[in-house]
């Protein structure tokens, strides 16, 4: 932000740093351990009076000098150069904090190289004692050089108390100083042994060669135990977040952990060849192979250290973007472009959106990423839509703290997403069009207030049932709509009929063959473990059938109706005709109609790419499903996509418990609602109800618009009842707060409808839902204390849920008021009164059953008292109806 960025669109600064660093670090460690190797081998040669061994030391010194002093020393300067080009802000901070540390290191280094030059040039020209004194001085100062560099490197990962104090010594003698110093010293000794093999393998005398090889083997293996123990110690002093980034929740570290393990096994496994008598050619080859492995080993270690340091370049002080956490608030409010000195664009507009996006990317992201090369963004983002990219930028540094948070305003975030999507990916988005719903005709069954004996009320339990209709890859919502019915015999004291009646239901024409429009019956065995006849739902119901009597209610559970009609028309509101018949005589007692709202407008594609699967109208495409599984596999180390490709798609709830489908899940795994809301809340925060309708079929311009009841008409949205996605997720996660995943998902979420996370009550999905009486205190509309939100005021128990609740006479709330999310009078874009058929049938008025004191619908005459609950008659405000 403070500095210009070197534009390396395809090579990448990170790769350049890695190449130079790995080469340098191997040699610089050798420079330390090799010094001790030289002087101790010289001492041995002198003590054993072994001229051949002494000659080996002399030759090895020359090899050592060329490697460490020339390449090691110069590549050290190279690291300094390259990091100051890629991340000048970080280098500036290191230089200005530790200038005298670097200066001290320089003194050590100067003594080191002078000692080595004299040691080399005066080999055989000085007495052994003096010559070895030089060797010892070389080693001591080389190790002191490591001592200083180690402190500064450790500071970058664990700055300790420096963060608060800014004190040089706090930063230098940081928490990882000691384990790192011991660890690196061990590496130095091991490398000394490995590189000793190289010159050793070229010795002509077999006996000397054998002795040298045995000695090198001791150097390789003796420090090993200390190395391992210190490595464990090392992982204990890094922050919990660093540890997580290394070993959990982060697939980025896996290749490097693998590299470290594999190269360790090869190094110390193949290294045993040093103890075996074999051909010199094989010894030469083996020595060179081990040297190569050293570089792989070091790459593994250094990359792991790098990953542990993420998302910072200087832990806790400066992100890898070069921006300090302390500056984030100002950058986010004033804008990155305004704050970045090296941006030629200072103000964002629709005209320069893409150009500004490129500019922000260049200045903020290029220090780690390329466009299409090493760590390229093009490849990493091709599974996301423009909207998904915005979400990804919002979620950076939250669920997975490996990435630093995006610095900038919402509009700047949008600019980067747009640039990646349109320019980098070269994709185009078809502007979202208002879905033009067909208005289907209604035929409302007759009702004669004077002669009809029964009133039959039928409703769907949830007001909408969504289907994840790509079972080829996974399922979390099978086709399964539930209709409930109550039958009342009219009279001054109406009678709730709960037996002696056959309640038949039948879907309208066009919806009779759901199996023609769904893969559900193809994968039911694999996903649900049951082989159902085509057209039959999970609880045995088809689209035509008989409801079961369940106390005062008749119900047909999980009717597998699809929103796709046989004539290729999309209609998410299929109408069922329900007929109550006398069980003994078969006489028709009452007939009514109700919608079974069902939608495949699952909004995953809004972020995860892919077109609509069904006639370009609705449904989850293969691409969307694949992208979702890939993301899940990447984040969680699962193999869901591979499983699905091999014909074994999974029910999400097979791991994630869910009361909605009565799935117990796997212990220790978040329940489905917690996981899906908790994860996505991190990516879709700050969006109020726009976050809800990205996934749920509630968009006004969408193909379902399921929120069609009275609350919608008066301007309420999802969040007034459920809270924002962040609130909603925090409540769910709080119920599983003991789990590491819950803590990880909730730590960066900020509540909106509560002043703190602690205020949010833990909530079990489906069993704890908003309580209508939170606002409708004493069944009033506003006069008795409308609080403005129902969030966090959950209904006390399952029986108190709106969809389960009855009055004192057993009349269910939904029977008169309609389905959740479609409270009478509702407005349905597939036909104004599609949801209001029963109010129109029984009272000719699209409102609550009995509204405007039409008590006669059931009671056959007017009532003078509130029978079911307060505020039914003599209301201050007349209830609204849909004309």
């Amino acid at each position: 932000m403070n500095y210009p960025a070197w534009y390396l669109p395809n090579l990448g600064g990170g790769l350049l740093i890695a190449i130079i660093a790995v080469l340098h670090v191997v040699i610089s460690h050798l420079a330390v351990g090799g010094g001790l190797f030289l002087v101790l081998t010289e001492r041995k040669a002198v003590r054993t009076n072994n001229p051949a061994l002494l000659e080996y030391v002399r030759k090895h010194t020359w090899f050592f000098l060329l490697l460490t002093m020339v390449f090691g020393g110069m590549s050290g300067v190279g690291i300094w150069f390259i990091i100051s080009l890629i991340n000048p802000a970080a280098v500036s901070s290191l230089i200005h904090t530790f200038v005298f540390g670097w200066a001290i290191e320089w003194v050590f280094f100067i003594v080191e190289i002078v000692a080595l030059l004299i040691y080399h040039y005066r080999f055989g020209k000085m007495d052994h004692k003096s010559h070895m004194a030089l060797g010892w001085l070389y080693f001591i100062f080389a190790w002191l050089s490591l001592f200083v560099i180690n402190g500064i490197l450790g500071f970058m990962l664990t700055p300790g108390k420096w963060i608060e104090s800014g004190n040089f010594w706090h930063g230098f003698l940081n928490p990882s100083f000691l384990p790192s110093l011991i660890f690196r010293t061990c590496i130095a000794l091991i490398f000394a042994g490995v590189f000793g093999l190289v010159t050793g393998a070229w010795l002509k005398d077999a006996d000397t060669r054998r002795k040298v090889f045995h000695q090198c083997a001791r150097w390789m293996y003796l420090p090993l135990l200390v190395l391992v123990l210190t490595g464990i110690y090392y992982t204990r002093v890094i922050s919990a977040e660093s540890f997580e980034n290394l070993f959990h929740f982060n697939r980025e570290s896996s290749p490097f952990i693998t590299l470290l393990i594999v190269s360790s096994v090869i190094l110390f496994g193949a290294g045993l060849f040093t103890l075996v008598r074999t051909f010199q050619a094989l010894q030469k080859l083996g020595a060179l192979l081990l040297v190569v492995i050293c570089f792989g080993w070091m790459a593994g270690f250094e990359y792991m250290r790098e990953i542990a340091r993420k998302p910072y370049v200087l832990y806790g002080h400066m992100y890898s973007t070069g921006i300090r956490p302390a500056d984030m608030e100002a950058v986010n409010s004033e804008g990155f472009l305004a704050k970045a000195k090296w941006s030629k664009i200072k103000e964002l507009s629709e005209d320069n959106l893409l150009e500004a996006g490129a500019e922000i990317f260049r200045l903020q992201c290029l220090s780690c990423h390329t466009l299409d090369g090493y760590n390229g963004v093009k490849n990493k983002t091709d599974q996301l839509t423009e909207r998904g990219l915005v979400a990804m930028l919002t979620g950076m540094g939250k669920v997975n703290s490996y990435m630093p948070p995006f610095a900038g305003t919402q509009e700047e975030k949008r600019a980067v997403a747009a640039w990646i999507y349109y320019e980098l990916q070269g994709k185009t988005t078809i502007p979202p069009e208002l879905y033009r719903a067909d208005e289907f005709p209604l035929e409302i069954p007759p009702f004669n207030p004077d002669t009809s004996e029964y009133v039959l009320l039928v409703w769907n339990d949830l007001g909408m049932h969504s289907i994840s209709d790509n079972e080829k890859y996974f399922s979390f919502l099978p086709p399964g709509n539930t209709l409930n019915a109550q039958l009342f015999k009219r009279g001054p004291l109406p009678q709730l009929i709960s037996s002696g009646v056959t309640m038949e239901y039948s879907v309208e024409e066009g919806f009779k063959n759901p199996s023609n429009h769904s893969m559900f019956w193809e994968y039911d065995s694999v996903i649900y473990g049951v082989d159902l006849p085509e057209g039959q739902g999970l609880l045995g119901k088809g689209v035509d059938g008989i409801m079961d009597a369940e106390g005062g209610v008749f119900a047909a559970h999980l009717i597998p109706v699809m929103p796709y009609m046989d004539n290729s028309t999309y209609n998410p509101y299929p109408i069922f005709t329900i007929t109550a018949k006398d069980e003994s005589t078969g006489e028709v007692l009452a007939v009514t109609k109700a919608v079974a709202p069902t939608s495949t407008e699952v909004g995953c594609r809004n972020c995860h790419e892919g077109a609509w699967a069904w006639n370009n109208v609705s449904g989850m495409s293969d691409l969307t499903a694949i992208n979702i599984l890939e993301a899940h596999d990447r984040f969680n180390g699962t193999t869901l996509l591979e499983d699905a490709d091999s014909g074994h798609p999974r029910l999400c709830q097979s791991c994630h418990a869910d009361p909605a489908v009565m799935a117990p899940g796997v212990p220790g795994v978040l329940n489905f609602s917690s996981a899906i809301h908790g994860f996505h809340a991190n990516y879709l925060s700050g969006l109020d109800q726009d976050a809800c309708i990205l996934c749920h079929p509630g968009r006004v311009e969408g193909n379902t618009s399921f929120f069609r009841g009275r609350h919608n008409e008066i301007g309420l949205g999802c969040t007034e009842c459920h809270g924002t996605l962040e609130d909603h997720a925090l409540g769910l996660l709080a119920s599983q707060s003991g789990m590491a995943a819950a803590q990880r998902l909730s730590r960066k979420l900020e509540p909106v409808y509560a002043s703190s996370k602690e205020e949010i009550k833990p909530r079990m999905p489906w069993l704890m839902e908003p309580d209508c009486r939170s606002c409708h205190t004493n069944y009033s509309i506003f006069e008795d204390g409308f609080s403005g939100t129902a969030f966090n005021l959950w209904a006390p128990g399952k029986e108190a849920l709106y969809r389960m609740r009855t009055d004192n006479h057993g009349v269910m709330c939904s029977a008169c008021h309609g389905s959740t999310h479609a409270i009478y009078g509702a407005i349905n874009k597939f036909g104004l009164h599609r949801d209001n058929q029963q109010p129109l049938q029984y009272q000719g008025m699209a409102g609550t059953i009995g509204t405007h004191e039409q008590c006669a619908v059931c009671h056959t005459h007017e009532m003078i008292t509130n029978g079911h609950h307060r505020n039914m008659i003599n209301r201050e405000f007349p209830a609204a109806i849909v004309e």
Binding site: M74, I110, M126
Partner: protein
């Protein structure tokens, strides 16, 4: 306009004058070594072309590479402490040539060893290596001149926006070629002086020794004479507000420039008359004075933009004390090691 793109500088641990002093001191040492190296290697190439290659004068090139680079580290460190925000910015602008300095330097270093070690075994390879090393050093010097001039010209930095890929050599800089010529000539002059010193301590016949000393001192003198012209070219190619500083604009700057001229005249006298000790001392003084003049010129360039005195000091003295103690220990150990060389005898067979 360019004010807005100049990065904000970080705070420093102690008063800026500490770094200023350390910068001048260490840069002086680096310049001496660099001149010995660059000038020495170019003069060796010249010897080669004349068919009069002298191993005595050229065997120290690899060691000089090591010392020059390692004594280049502290001035690079201290210049980053004082001018880092300018220096990093200019480095990014010419990032490609700047990072190429490192591999070129490594190859040049190996080239120097090939030259020395393979003179007899592979003479052609050895000569090629020498030429490669010398040309590499010239290239590195050129990149350094580009970077250093760009760092003090933020008014030129908008070139970055047209080419952020790191290829912006500062070729439009009016002082570029005169500065480069001035520095390379200085390297040749001091390099010749260095060779004269080397011959002074070499174990060759006195007649040959005196001849070589006189010859190299003459080279030193002639190039110093040429520097009057090239130096003036360099001086006058600077902006008027800079060069006028050395013509009465600033008393101190003017005094330094005058001292530089006087010392140069004295160098001519001592070198043409073959007085090595005097030439040696005067050459050292001249380099030191020029280091100060260079620093004053930078200050004048940045006059309206930045002064190191503006840097906020954190008043953190203990690391400085630690450095000074370590520095003293380092000097003692260096002394001890050199003493060992002279005290120690070859081991008995």
């Amino acid at each position: 306009m360019y004010d807005s793109i100049i990065p904000t500088a970080d705070s420093i641990p102690v008063h800026w004058l500490w770094f200023q002093g350390l910068l001048i001191l260490t840069f002086f040492i680096h310049m001496i070594l660099m001149n010995f190296l660059l000038g020495g290697s170019l003069l060796t190439v010249w010897d080669l072309l004349r068919g009069k290659l002298e191993k005595k004068a050229s065997g120290s090139i690899p060691t000089l590479v090591a010392l020059t680079v390692n004594f280049g580290v502290p001035p690079l460190l201290f210049v980053q402490v004082l001018y880092g925000h300018l220096f990093y910015s200019s480095s990014v602008m010419l990032a490609v040539p700047w990072i190429l300095v490192v591999p070129v330097l490594i190859l040049a270093y190996y080239g120097a060893y090939i030259f020395v070690k393979q003179t007899d075994k592979a003479p052609v390879l050895s000569k090629v290596a020498l030429v490669f090393t010398s040309l590499s050093l010239l290239c590195i010097a050129f990149v350094l001149v580009n970077n250093n001039t760009l760092a003090i010209r933020p008014d030129q930095w908008e070139i970055y926006f047209d080419n952020p890929g790191g290829w912006n050599l500062n070729l439009g800089e009016p002082t570029l070629w005169s500065r480069y010529a001035h520095f390379v000539l200085a390297a040749l002059a001091i390099g010749a002086l260095g060779r004269a010193i080397l011959y002074r301590f070499s174990k060759i016949k006195k007649k040959e020794k005196d001849l070589q000393i006189r010859r190299n001192l003459k080279i030193f003198a002639w190039i110093t004479l040429a520097q009057f012209g090239v130096g003036t070219w360099f001086w006058l190619s600077m902006p008027s507000e800079v060069w006028k500083n050395f013509m009465g604009g600033s008393l101190f700057a003017t005094a330094m420039m005058v001292i530089g001229w006087i010392v140069a005249l004295l160098i001519l006298h001592s070198s043409f008359t073959g007085r090595l000790s005097a030439a040696m001392v005067l050459g050292g003084i001249e380099v030191f004075v020029m280091v100060i003049v260079r620093d004053l010129a930078r200050t004048a360039y940045l006059n309206e933009i930045f002064r190191p005195s503006q840097l906020e000091s954190r008043g953190e003295g203990s690391p400085l004390i630690a450095f000074l103690l370590v520095f003293a220990v380092g000097l003692f150990v260096l002394y001890y090691m050199i003493r060992l060389i002279f005290k120690s005898k070859a081991p008995q067979p």
